[in-house]
């Protein structure tokens, strides 16, 4: 009986290891695999052939293709925050601050986060599905047989296009959002435009927009990398493609929100709030 005791202890440690350590190792493995894919896709960016058409196609898809949804969401995000701000500020008869309130929320948070989430839902899911079905129908292998690197041909253009287009889409979101706020506050609620625009101009800095744009670059990279990783690593059949797409959208959306927090902390060191 005495001899059995160390065995159970060992198995307890083993169970502990299985339950806690191996999932942790798994997380690091997946993170590492993402980083390897990222490094490869950037290394391939500088190698011939360059295939500019693939980059333009992806920019068209991620950017131009997402314009309607980004504008629609942008308009209502601006309108809703203006409405809430007007109602809240109305308690103190301070409605003239609505331009500042809407402008700064859009610039720092709403535009980069909402635009990225909308583009994740639209373009990120499409990337994961497309690469996943190319993988299971051996189109990825076919590229290799023609001595074409699948990472260079498929992943690099998607990541670069997302990094380039997300800031543009964020700016579009900002402009349309401000217009939505204008419609609600100035047109519908009849607040004095002179005061609203004066406070907006005085209190909002270019750095507020810069922070939003920097965040959107990181979000674009996160979205495209996650989607490509999930699509690229599909094994099996059509069901797995669906799962990969779901994972891509969930993982990118969650990562965007978590990264948002840390980016605010980092950026607030560079540009202290209200400075």
């Amino acid at each position: 009986m005495n001899e059995a005791a160390p065995a159970t202890e060992l198995s307890f440690i083993q169970r502990l290891a299985d339950r806690i350590v191996s999932p942790l190792v798994g997380i690091f493995e997946v993170f590492g695999a993402h980083m390897i894919l990222l490094a490869q896709s950037f290394a391939w960016l500088f190698r011939r052939p360059f295939r500019p058409r693939l980059f333009l196609e992806q920019m068209e898809f991620v950017g131009v293709g997402s314009l309607p949804i980004v504008m629609l969401v942008g308009f209502f995000a601006g309108a809703v925050s203006a409405l809430q701000a007007v109602m809240a500020l109305g308690m103190f008869q301070q409605e003239r601050w609505v331009g500042f309130g809407v402008g700064i929320s859009l610039a720092r948070e709403l535009a980069p986060v909402f635009a990225s989430l909308m583009i994740t839902a639209r373009a990120g899911s499409a990337m994961a599905t497309e690469l996943g079905s190319m993988r299971i129908t051996e189109q990825v292998d076919a590229l290799t047989t023609f001595a074409v690197s699948p990472v260079q041909y498929l992943v690099t253009p998607r990541i670069v296009a997302s990094i380039l287009m997300l800031p543009f889409m964020t700016m579009v979101f900002n402009v349309v959002g401000l217009f939505g706020g204008y419609v609600v506050a100035i047109v519908l609620r009849d607040i004095d435009f002179g005061q609203v625009s004066e406070l907006y101009r005085y209190w909002i800095d270019p750095s507020d927009y810069a922070q939003g744009l920097i965040k959107s670059v990181v979000f674009g990279l996160t979205m495209a990398l996650t989607a490509c990783y999930q699509g690229f690593n599909v094994r099996g059949g059509a069901k797995e493609v669906g799962r990969a797409t779901t994972r891509a959208v969930v993982a990118s959306s969650v990562s965007i929100l978590i990264l948002d927090y840390f980016l605010i902390e980092i950026l607030s060191v560079i540009w202290p709030f209200g400075d």
Partner: protein, 266 residues
């Protein structure tokens, strides 16, 4: 199997693999494969599911690297070549995938032109000319509007021939077929068999067919090799294979009914 040095260029053998080993995690897939592929002939590698046929083929093309062993293509050992040199070797190969693996985002012409566009700086007219030549030679030219069709609009047989055209357009010396008749009805199987035979004759390529269809292997194969548990247990012309006493081979031959083909041909 002859015993000469595989790294000597041989007139008879185009690919010679020696002692290939490959493990994936706990699975020891290839356990010392020796395979000779005869030039200008139809070479068939046959084996049950999960015996490592596709893995072996990917090794021959340099898509996977063996843990151990040597693969010589025209006397050149391709194991451990860098990307650039491997790229040159791959140009000798064309690959026909099981379900054609045509690029969904491109139409038929763009698919067939893909290897040319990626490898050479040719004018549009030159590329189109070579693509149309392939369409003619593979009996696709008379399908109305074929050039602009997307892969989804093609029938299974047409898709297979477009895949073949894409593999052949850069005039490879060696054509690999991955399970070309899997999942086809007997008539479609016969058509694919004829396509492989005709392609071998018309284009003078060395064909290597990975298959588990013994009947069709015996019908079209000039040489049939059997892969079992990670090694090649036999590699000979079909008739000689019938004399081989290896029990696994016997079972495969007898259950497939392939005997009648060869005996009928006697």
């Amino acid at each position: 199997m002859s015993e000469e040095d595989p790294s000597q260029r041989s007139e008879r053998w185009q690919i010679r693999a020696r002692g290939l080993h490959k493990t994936f995690g706990p699975q020891h897939v290839l356990r010392g494969v020796d395979l000779d592929v005869e030039r200008h002939k139809i070479n068939i590698v046959i084996g049950g599911s999960g015996q490592g046929k596709s893995v072996l083929m990917k090794h021959l093309m340099g898509l996977l690297h063996p843990d151990e062993g040597q693969i010589c293509v025209d006397g050149q050992n391709i194991v451990g070549l860098d990307d650039v040199e491997m790229g040159k070797v791959r140009r000798k190969f064309g690959m026909v995938f099981q379900y054609a693996a045509l690029f969904d985002s491109m139409n038929v012409v763009e698919n067939i032109a893909f290897p040319l566009i990626e490898r050479y700086k040719l004018s549009r007219a030159e590329i189109l000319e070579r693509v149309r030549e392939m369409l003619r030679r593979l009996d696709l030219a008379n399908v109305p509007g074929i050039e602009e069709k997307s892969p989804a609009e093609l029938s299974g047989g047409q898709r297979k021939r477009v895949g073949l055209a894409r593999a052949l357009v850069d005039r490879p010396q060696i054509l690999l077929y991955d399970e070309p008749t899997t999942g086809l009805d007997p008539i479609a199987t016969k058509n694919v068999d004829e396509m492989i035979r005709r392609t071998a004759d018309d284009f003078g390529v060395t064909s290597l067919v990975i298959s588990h269809d013994m009947a069709s292997a015996f019908r079209i194969g000039d040489r049939v090799a059997m892969l079992h548990e990670g090694t090649i247990i036999a590699n000979a012309p079909p008739r000689e294979l019938l004399q081989d006493p290896h029990p696994v081979l016997r079972e495969f031959v007898e259950t497939s009914g392939a005997v009648s083909f060869v005996q009928g041909a006697r």
